[in-house]
């Protein structure tokens, strides 16, 4: 269907998505495909004493049953190579895969799972962060010293990474401070929870495998398949059909290797579709639980003079991409403040929980929630207004932050003023209602990315990119960049994306990098096409190529728009009938810092093109029940130049909403043996439309050098940072008490109000 007359910035994939014609991975069917299912360990810590798949293999209709014995003996993971595709000896979390089956239908696949004989000797699970690092604690990984180490990853016992940030002399400065405030906060683990459950289909043709998968990062997924199945890059092609959300949860290689291995043995295509329960328990991407202890000293004028902190983070059973989490958490507990003396120490701890991995701004919502709650506690302790205290202490243009990074032009002060003005800070509110402020920050990330641009003889352009569209609309924005460079209408640009067989490599949809990195590559590749058009036009118009203007689908000499040549004619007249551009984004230098990382430098202390935000939440707390409703969130963001306003507003609104969920209801509950108790949507409680606050968004657009296209920074993760803190400060202002556990459920709010001693 041709959809016409839609307004500007309508996403190119939109019509497919609203008509149902767009195919997601689970919507695909290949001839002869089998159904895959996984056998999970089911216990959080145990030793496999017997694993026999003979009976399962003998069931008619079962084409493959795999265990660790059937795949290469490869240990993988960045930081510490601590895991294998299938459990070998020890089961370290309930969702650990012991075996995989492929059968002719789901019922027979289930029969095969049931026929697998698995005996497990129970081991004492490690489920408590403080107990995990106490002397004599049982170890999650007995042989940690034998694991291959990558990066600066100091580790010992149950400590997977130990990292810190440090500047000045925090201890001495604290001694001289006029007021010292100490706070402790506990954050539960939570989940990315995309509405699309993971799905993977693998099909071999000869010695090459094609994997269709719901991944945010096709090139990382390819790397994972290649590494674990010992295949060369050229033999593995990853295609991501439409992707039904990710939020970080679909980063990394997940189950693509298992399904590729099954399909190879079964000699048929194999398809996996996760149940919602599996979505909760099996992926190595959940938001990490934390214990945060933070102490801040301020002088008599209310300036922060020192901050110290200790953070424990729950890594779960294995490293996913979590090696930088300790340092990231330390940065968030320091916060976007001018602090001359700081020492924050963070440990990422192995437990027998599901592995932690990147979920939208990993470590930030919890870290920010803690430090912004703490910030209001400091302001209260010295009798200063929470807005005034932040005005005095936040980082501004040319000021130097917690690790000694001096910022270029930044807009946090504007975010603070605009958000508090928008919310009406200081005005009288009805009984039980109050406002709360939180500021937040998050870096942008530079990574290698390439792009191709191809102008066809018919005047249409294909942009071929390694970018991934997980919903944000960033890939859709790439069309606009190419159209502007080449001087043609956006609708003449077709995007080819999410296919490692077609596109140059790139980071995909992770770390808010789509526009930031892929955008720079697309811009450059499109410029190469534009340069060729200018040369061709210059020859025909007898002008210098530098004077040729490309706009509205035609080339003309600057100042003489009356005489022009349609771009379609130039392309058709070229030697091959098409013009090609191929480029990689330029490397970007990270900013210098003067502070230090005493240990565990994981690339998260210097922040490139840092983004800033201020959220002000208005809540109503029911005094009888503790039930909290977020009525309004006023969000103001500095993410540099905004290129696609509809998508940008969508990111802020969605990020805030996710933050409201984390603030009020979303938290994984565990039993004493480390099993999830609320691994279902009804029990986990995402926010519904009935819960949605009014979200008012503004952008402080500051052109940023050393950043993405046209001065853009990243955006998708930043809106998820500050909301929880704003909600907690609003609850505290409404009730007069401080909730110290995240999520701030009705029970916890009620307990804080009625029995403060028992509230942590």
């Amino acid at each position: 269907m041709a959809v016409t007359d839609l307004p500007e910035f309508i996403r190119a994939d939109g019509p497919d998505k609203v008509t149902g014609s767009g195919r997601y991975t689970a919507d695909m069917t290949l001839t002869g495909q089998l159904v895959a299912k996984f056998k999970y360990g089911g216990v959080s810590h145990g030793r496999i004493t017997r694993l026999d798949v003979t009976a399962a293999r003998a069931i008619p209709g079962v084409f493959a049953v795999l265990t660790a014995a059937d795949v290469p003996d490869v240990r993988y993971s960045y930081g510490l190579a601590d895991r294998t595709l299938f459990a070998t000896d020890i089961i370290r979390f309930e969702g650990e895969i012991v075996a995989a089956v492929a059968a002719i239908n789901a019922d027979i696949a289930q029969q095969a799972l049931d026929a697998i004989e698995l005996d497990i000797e129970m081991l004492e699970p490690v489920v408590d962060l403080e107990a995990a690092i106490a002397d004599g604690a049982p170890l999650v990984h007995e042989n940690i010293d034998s694991y291959e180490v990558t990066g600066d990853t100091p580790h010992s016992g149950n400590v997977a990474t130990h990292s810190s940030i440090s500047m000045g002399d925090a201890e001495a400065a604290m001694t001289n401070a006029a007021t010292v405030v100490t706070s402790r906060y506990l954050a539960d683990a939570s989940h990315a929870t995309p509405i699309e459950p993971r799905a993977v289909i693998a099909q071999w043709e000869g010695d090459k495998v094609t994997v269709w998968t719901s991944t945010q990062v096709p090139f990382d997924a390819r790397a994972g398949v290649c590494e674990t199945l010992e295949l060369p890059t050229s033999k593995v092609r990853i295609i991501a059909p439409h992707l039904g959300g990710g939020f970080g949860g679909k980063c990394g290689a997940h189950f693509e290797p298992h399904i590729a291995a099954l399909a190879r043995v079964a000699k048929r295509p194999v398809k996996l579709v996760f149940s919602r329960w599996e979505e909760f328990i099996a992926p190595d991407r959940r938001r990490e639980a934390m214990i945060i202890d933070v102490t801040t000293g301020v002088d008599a004028d209310g300036h922060i003079v020192a901050r110290t902190g200790e953070i424990l983070l729950d890594n779960g059973a294995y490293m996913a991409d979590s090696s930088f989490f300790a340092q990231a958490a330390a940065m968030h507990v320091a916060g976007p403040y001018v602090i001359p003396n700081v020492h924050i120490d963070a440990k990422l701890i192995y437990t027998n929980h599901q592995p932690s991995g990147s979920v939208r701004a990993p470590t930030a919502p919890q870290g920010c929630w803690a430090v912004e709650s703490h910030t209001d506690e400091i302001a209260k302790a010295i009798g200063m207004d929470a807005l005034e205290f932040r005005r005095k202490n936040i980082v501004t243009s040319a000021s130097t932050g917690c690790v000694g990074q001096t910022y270029d032009e930044i807009g946090l002060d504007q975010c603070l003023e605009l958000a508090t003005t928008s919310a009406g800070w200081g005005t009288e509110l009805p009984e039980g209602e109050a406002l709360g402020i939180s500021v937040g920050w998050w870096p942008s990330f530079a990574a290698p990315a390439g792009a191709y641009a191809k102008l066809h003889g018919d005047g249409t352009v294909q942009v071929i990119t390694g970018a991934s569209e997980c919903g944000t609309g960033s890939v859709m924005t790439l069309r606009m960049l190419a159209a502007d460079e080449i001087g043609i209408d956006e609708t003449a640009i077709e995007l080819i994306y999410q296919d490692t067989g077609a596109a140059p490599a790139g980071p995909g949809s992770s770390g808010s990098q789509t526009l930031f990195n892929h955008g720079r590559a697309v811009e450059k590749a499109s410029q190469m096409v534009a340069d060729q058009l200018r040369e061709l036009a210059a020859a025909q118009l007898e002008a210098n190529a530098g004077d040729i203007v490309l706009e509205n689908g035609a080339a003309s000499v600057a100042g003489s728009p009356a005489i022009s040549i349609p771009i379609v004619e130039l392309a058709a007249a070229s030697e091959t009938g098409e013009l090609l551009g191929s480029a990689a984004a330029d490397a970007i230098e990270w900013p210098e810092i003067t502070g230090s990382t005493c240990l565990g430098e994981q690339g998260f202390s210097s922040w490139l093109a840092p983004q800033f935000s201020c959220h002000v939440a208005r809540v109503r707390v029911d005094a009888d029940t503790g039930v909290t409703r977020v009525l309004e969130v006023h969000a103001v963001h500095d993410s540099g130049t905004i290129l696609n306003p509809v998508a940008a507003h969508g990111q802020v609104e969605g990020g805030v909403m996710m933050g409201v969920g984390q603030a009020l209801t979303e938290g994984t509950r565990y039993d004493e043996r480390g099993h999830q108790l609320n691994a279902g949507l009804l029990e986990y409680k995402l926010q519904t439309i009935a819960d949605a606050p009014t979200i008012t968004t503004q952008f402080v657009e500051i052109f940023t050098n050393n950043a993405g296209p046209r001065g853009a920074k990243g955006l998708a993760e930043a809106p998820n940072v500050a909301t929880c803190g704003a909600v907690n400060n609003a609850i505290a202002n409404a009730t007069g008490v401080r909730v110290r556990q995240l999520p701030m459920t009705a029970e916890r709010v009620w307990t804080a109000m009625n029995n403060p001693e028992a509230s942590t």
């Binding site: 959809v3 939109g14 998505k17 149902g20 014609s21 997601y24 944000t472 507003h649 519904t688």
Partner: protein, 160 residues
């Protein structure tokens, strides 16, 4: 399971088209719509009536097709997201949700559209609160819901 269920010939009317098919009587409507009839616009997000991605209309009423037996839908009119657009263009609701920015990953969109269509059929001029109630069975993780809400209100203005 196979004692009480088995293959059965049924005819399901989906988007005005009769589909004579043979199905196992224990199969859910979402499974049959997706796998037997081949209309994959209807999504499965939880298989437990919690996410609303599988919402279809049964004689105009919204139901979670993941928890409804396909065989029970015989003789009734089933509408899926594929049935919303005309031959030539999107429905006003489809157009408005797209224009408002109410579509991101798109996985909840079909179910959201079906719930909103049912709501507007029953109540062509809903208040914002009525839209919130009408769509509260459809989870969206991407948008924060505001633009979806706006698009339903916008559509109600256009169709009245």
């Amino acid at each position: 399971m196979s004692n009480t269920t088995g293959p059965s010939a049924v005819t399901l009317n989906v988007n005005g088209v009769p589909y004579p098919i043979v199905i196992n009587t224990d199969r859910t409507l979402s499974t049959v719509i997706r796998n037997e009839i081949g209309l994959t616009g209807t999504k499965e997000g939880c298989d437990d009536c919690e996410c609303g991605a599988c919402m279809v209309l049964l004689d105009g009423r919204p139901i979670n097709s993941c928890s409804y037996l396909a065989a029970q839908a015989q003789g009734r009119e089933i509408t899926t997201v594929e049935g919303l657009a005309s031959q030539d263009d999107l429905s006003p609701l489809q157009r408005n949700i797209l224009a408002a920015g109410g579509v991101q990953c798109g996985f909840c969109t079909p179910g959201m559209l079906m719930s909103a269509t049912a709501l507007l059929n029953e109540n062509p001029s809903p208040t914002k609160e009525e839209v919130r109630i009408g769509l509260s069975g459809n989870l969206c993780r991407c948008t924060g819901y505001a633009r979806i809400l706006d698009s339903v209100i916008q559509t109600s203005v256009e169709i009245n």
